[in-house]
C-alpha cells in the first residue's frame, strides 16, 4: 500500500469522527492530504467510518492519471484546492446545519465566541451543479484562498487545514457555529449581544 501506518491512522480517525458525529452518511464525504507531489485521497465507494489501507488511493497532484478510476468522485475539487491554496489537507463533509443555513442565507455569520474567534464569517457559494465536481472545482478554491472553510449551497462544506486533524477542527467548528446560529434564530428573540455586528464580520 502507498500509505504508512501513521498517515493511515490519521485518515481512519478523521473518517470515523465525521461518520460517527453525523457529518456524513455511510458513504458520503471524502478526505485527502498532500504527499510529496501526490495526493492521497479516500477511495470512491469506501465507507469513511471504516477505512482500510486499501481505501486510500494515491493520484498525481498536478495532472490526471489512472488513479481517477478509484479515487473519490470529488478528487478534482481536492486537486484544485491544493493547486490554488496553501492547503495541506482537505475534508469534504455534508454538515447538516451548514447545509440548512446555506438554503436560506448567503453566508453563515458566527455569533458564538469560538466561531467569532476562529471563523467570523463562513462563506456560502452556489454552483450550477452542486453534486458534481466540475463546478465546485472551479469555485471552491477561489474562496479557500482566504477562508478555511466554505459551504456549497445544498451540498456541504470543503475545509482545508495544515493536517487532516486541523481540517477536521474547521469542519466541526463551523458546524458548531452554524448549529448555534440555527437554534438561536429558531428562538425568535433578539440577541443580547451580537458579536458579528460589533466586529463587522460581514466585511471579513
Amino acid at each position: 500500500m502507498v500509505i504508512n501506518e501513521a498517515t493511515f491512522k490519521e485518515f481512519r480517525i478523521v473518517g470515523k469522527v465525521l461518520t460517527d458525529q453525523g457529518y456524513n452518511t455511510s458513504h458520503s464525504g471524502n478526505i485527502s492530504m498532500r504527499s510529496g507531489g501526490k495526493l492521497l485521497i479516500k477511495r470512491r465507494g469506501a465507507m469513511l467510518g471504516f477505512l482500510e489501507p486499501e481505501d486510500i488511493i494515491e493520484t498525481d497532484l498536478y495532472q490526471q492519471d489512472s488513479g481517477i478510476m478509484l479515487s473519490s468522485t470529488e478528487t478534482e475539487v481536492h486537486r484544485q484546492i491544493y493547486l490554488q491554496t496553501d492547503a495541506m489537507a482537505v475534508i469534504h463533509a455534508h454538515n447538516p446545519f451548514c447545509v440548512i443555513l446555506s438554503l436560506v442565507e448567503d453566508e453563515i455569520t458566527c455569533i458564538d465566541a469560538e466561531g467569532c474567534y476562529l471563523y467570523k464569517r463562513i462563506p456560502v457559494i452556489e454552483v450550477e451543479n452542486p453534486a458534481g465536481p466540475t463546478d465546485a472545482a472551479r469555485e471552491v478554491p477561489k474562496i479557500l484562498k482566504n477562508y478555511p472553510i466554505v459551504v456549497v449551497r445544498t451540498h456541504g462544506v470543503f475545509a482545508k487545514g495544515n493536517s487532516l486533524i486541523d481540517a477536521l477542527q474547521n469542519v466541526t467548528g463551523a458546524e458548531q457555529s452554524a448549529m448555534i446560529r440555527y437554534y438561536t434564530l429558531l428562538l425568535g428573540k433578539p440577541l443580547k449581544r451580537d458579536l458579528s455586528k460589533e466586529k463587522k464580520f460581514s466585511e471579513w
Binding site: 458513504h27 470512491r44 490526471q64 492519471d65 489512472s66 481517477i68 468522485t73 478528487t75 478534482e76 465536481p133
Partner: protein, 595 residues
C-alpha cells in the same frame, strides 16, 4: 412493439433467398431485442449438435429498443451464434454505427444461414437487400475491404472479416468499420465458413417512434450523471480503457506470463499504461453513436496508425506474453484488427504456447515469454494458418491439448480468460466459471463493485457473492438486449434504463420485470449449452486458480474456493446440483427444455 421494427431479414445463402418475416410483439416484449432476441431465434431454429462451421449454423445480428435513440451509448448491436471455439452459445456486441444503420433500414435482426456457392457480401440498402459477388474482396485485410467496399457502395457501415475469418481461424473476429469488433468466440470463422466477406448497411431512413420530450428530459438527467462520475467523465475519455492497466495491477490482478504472476512491482507497468499510450501515441479520441464517454483511441506510432489498443488487447498482447514494449504491442493490435482476430484469444493462446515452451513441452525456443520480436509475425501466421500458426489458430485449449499441457491453457469452456486474475476477486472468478460463453468478463462484470466501487464497493475476497453475481448476470443480459454499452452502466443503473425503455415502448416495464427477462435469456442460453453436452464439470476454472496462490502483490496468498461458490450459485439460480435449471424455474420463466 414501439421502438422496434417487428421485422426480421432472413437470408439463406445456399439458396440465395432473401425473405422478410414479422417478429411478434410477444417475442419482443419477452426478449427485448439484441442478445435476447438473438438467443431466442437461435434456440428455436438451430438443431442439436450442428458443426458451428457448417452451413447449418445460424449467424444472427440484432438491435434493441434503445438502439439509435438519444439514450446514451445506444449505438450498439448484438450478435448470436454457435461458437466454433467453444461449441457453446455465443453472444457478442459491438459499438460504432452499424446497428443504428440496420435499425434505420427497418430491421430488428439479420438472420443468416447456409453457405454461398461463390464468395459474396450482403448489402442492405434501405428496406431491400441483395447478395453481391466478392471474389475481389477475398484475401483483403479488413481495412482494405472497408476502402474497397466504400468505393463501390458509397457512404455505408460495414462489418467484415479479414484473412483470419476466411481461413476459419477459431479465434477470428468480425470487424466493424475495420476498427471495432464482434470479438470473441471465433465469430469471424462462422462468417468465413459461409463464404461471406462483408455485410453493408446504408440508406436507411426509417423513423421509429419514441416519446421525444420525455426522452430529452431523461437524456439530460442521464448525461448530467455521466458528466459527474469521474470514470465516465475523466478516466475513460482521457486515457481510454487502457486506464485500467495500472488500476488492475494495483490490486495484484493483472496477469503476467500466462497468469503465473499477477502483479508488476516495477516501472514496466508505467510503460504500458493508459497514461503512456496517451502521451506517446494518441492521435484522436473517438466515440460510438450517441456516446458521451468516447473511450475510443485513434493512435499513431510514427510507423503505423490505427485503432486502440484497448485495455484487454494491451494486456493480452503485452504482460500476458511477458511483453512490455508499448510500440510492439500497439502494432500487434493493429495487425489483429487488419487480419480480423480476437486480441484476447490471440494473446491468451500465444501466452499458453510460451508457457508450454517454458515447461519443455514445446520445442520452438523463439516462442518464449518476453520475446517481442516474434509477436507480429506469429499473429500473421495465425491469420494464415502458417507453420505453428495452424495450431495456434485453434485457440489455447486445443493447442495445449496437442502439446499435452492442458493445464497451461487459461480458459473456461474453451474461451481464453480476459485481463483479471480470478484469485483477486471472488465474484469475478465465479463469473468466469459460470458464464455461458466461457471466460467472459462482461457477462456479469463484478469488477465494477469489487474493484472500482461502482455502484458501491464490496470486499473483493468475500465469498458471499453468488446472489449478487446472479443479479448482475441477469442485468447484463438486459443491457445487451436493449442494447447499451457496459460503460454507461458505471454511471447509470437499470433504474435509468427502465425509464428510457418505458418512454420508447410505452410499455409498463419495471426493474423487476427487466431482471426477469434477463434471467429468461440467461437460462435459455444455459439450456442451449446443456443440450450441447455442457454441465457442472464445465463450470470451472483452470487448476492454477484453484490450487496455486499468487506469490506477490496485493492478492498474494489467495486461491478460488470455487466449489463453495458454485453450490451457492446453483441454489440461488434454482438449478440442480448438476447445474440444470429446475422445472420450477422453467415454469416461472415460461421456458421449455431444448431437444
Amino acid at each position: 412493439m414501439l421502438g422496434m421494427n417487428n421485422s426480421l431479414l432472413k437470408i439463406d445463402l445456399s439458396k440465395e433467398e432473401i425473405n422478410i418475416e414479422e417478429l411478434s410483439d410477444d417475442l419482443l416484449e419477452n426478449y427485448l431485442g439484441g442478445r435476447g432476441l438473438g438467443v431466442k431465434l437461435l434456440c428455436d431454429n438451430l438443431e442439436k449438435g450442428v458443426d458451428p462451421l457448417s452451413p447449418a449454423n445460424i449467424l444472427i445480428f440484432s438491435i434493441g429498443p434503445l438502439t439509435g435513440t438519444i439514450a446514451p451509448t445506444s449505438g450498439r448491436s448484438a450478435l448470436v451464434t454457435k461458437s466454433p471455439l467453444t461449441n457453446t452459445i455465443l453472444h457478442s456486441n459491438s459499438g460504432g454505427f452499424w446497428g443504428v444503420g440496420l435499425k434505420r433500414c427497418g430491421f430488428d435482426a439479420l438472420y443468416i444461414t447456409g453457405r454461398l456457392n461463390q464468395r459474396g457480401y450482403i448489402v442492405i440498402d434501405g428496406s431491400s437487400a441483395e447478395i453481391k459477388e466478392a471474389e475481389e474482396l477475398w484475401g483483403l485485410s479488413t481495412e482494405e475491404t472497408l476502402e474497397k467496399v466504400r468505393n463501390i457502395e458509397g457512404n455505408c457501415q460495414i462489418l467484415s472479416i479479414g484473412p483470419a475469418g476466411e481461413n476459419l481461424v477459431r479465434i477470428a473476429a468480425i470487424m466493424n468499420q475495420a476498427q471495432r469488433a464482434f470479438g470473441r468466440g471465433g465469430v469471424g470463422a462462422v462468417m468465413g465458413s459461409k463464404g461471406l466477406k462483408a455485410i453493408v448497411v446504408k440508406n436507411g431512413n426509417k423513423k421509429f417512434q419514441q416519446n421525444l420530450e420525455q426522452m430529452k428530459m431523461l437524456n439530460q438527467v442521464a448525461s448530467d450523471k455521466i458528466k459527474v462520475f469521474p470514470v465516465t467523465s475523466q478516466g475513460l475519455p482521457l486515457f481510454g480503457t487502457a486506464v485500467l492497466i495500472k488500476v488492475i495491477n494495483a490490486f495484484g490482478m493483472l496477469p503476467v506470463n500466462n497468469n503465473q504472476m499477477a502483479y508488476i512491482a516495477d516501472t514496466r507497468v508505467d510503460e504500458i499504461s493508459g497514461e503512456s499510450l496517451r502521451e506517446r501515441f494518441l492521435e484522436k479520441v473517438e466515440g460510438c453513436y450517441g456516446c458521451p464517454i468516447r473511450c475510443g483511441r485513434l493512435t499513431n506510432t510514427g510507423e503505423m496508425r490505427g485503432k486502440g489498443p484497448e485495455f484487454e488487447s494491451l494486456w493480452a498482447l503485452g504482460p500476458q506474453c511477458g511483453i512490455f514494449d508499448l510500440k510492439t504491442i500497439t502494432h500487434a493490435n493493429y495487425f489483429c484488427n487488419r487480419y480480423g482476430l480476437d486480441t484476447i484469444s490471440v494473446g491468451g493462446t500465444i501466452a499458453c504456447a510460451m508457457e508450454l515452451q517454458q515447461r519443455g513441452l514445446l520445442e520452438d525456443s523463439t516462442i518464449r515469454f518476453g520475446n517481442s520480436d516474434i509477436l507480429c509475425d506469429i499473429i500473421r501466421k495465425i491469420a494464415y494458418k502458417e507453420g505453428i500458426g495452424e495450431y495456434l489458430a485453434e485457440g489455447a485449449l486445443r493447442f495445449a491439448e496437442r502439446y499435452q499441457g492442458i493445464e497451461y491453457a487459461m480458459q473456461v469452456k474453451g474461451l481464453e480468460l480476459p485481463a483479471y486474475d480470478p484469485r483477486g476477486a471472488m465474484g469475478q472468478a465465479l463469473n468466469f466459471a459460470t458464464s455461458n460463453r466461457g471466460a467472459c468478463h462482461l457477462t456479469g462484470y463484478l469488477v465494477g463493485m469489487e474493484l472500482l466501487g461502482v455502484p458501491k464497493l464490496i470486499d473483493r475476497f468475500s465469498l458471499a457473492k453468488s446472489d449478487l453475481l446472479v443479479l448482475k448476470q441477469n442485468q447484463s443480459a438486459v443491457e445487451d438486449s436493449l442494447v447499451v454499452c457496459k460503460f454507461v452502466g458505471f454511471a447509470l443503473g437499470l433504474d435509468y434504463q427502465v425509464r428510457f425503455l418505458k418512454s420508447i415502448t410505452g410499455q409498463d416495464y419495471t426493474i423487476d420485470k427487466l431482471v426477469e427477462i434477463g434471467e429468461r435469456i440467461y437460462t435459455l442460453e444455459r439450456l442451449f449449452n446443456i443440450r450441447e453436452g455442457f454441465s457442472r464439470k464445465d463450470d470451472t476454472l483452470p487448476e492454477r486458480f484453484l490450487k496455486e496462490s499468487l506469490e506477490e502483490g496485493p492478492s498474494k496468498g489467495y486461491v478460488v474456493p470455487l466449489e463453495k461458490l458454485l453450490e451457492d450459485y446453483y441454489r440461488i439460480r434454482r438449478w440442480d446440483e448438476n447445474g440444470v435449471p429446475t422445472d420450477e424455474v422453467l415454469q416461472k420463466l415460461n421456458l421449455e427444455r431444448l431437444n
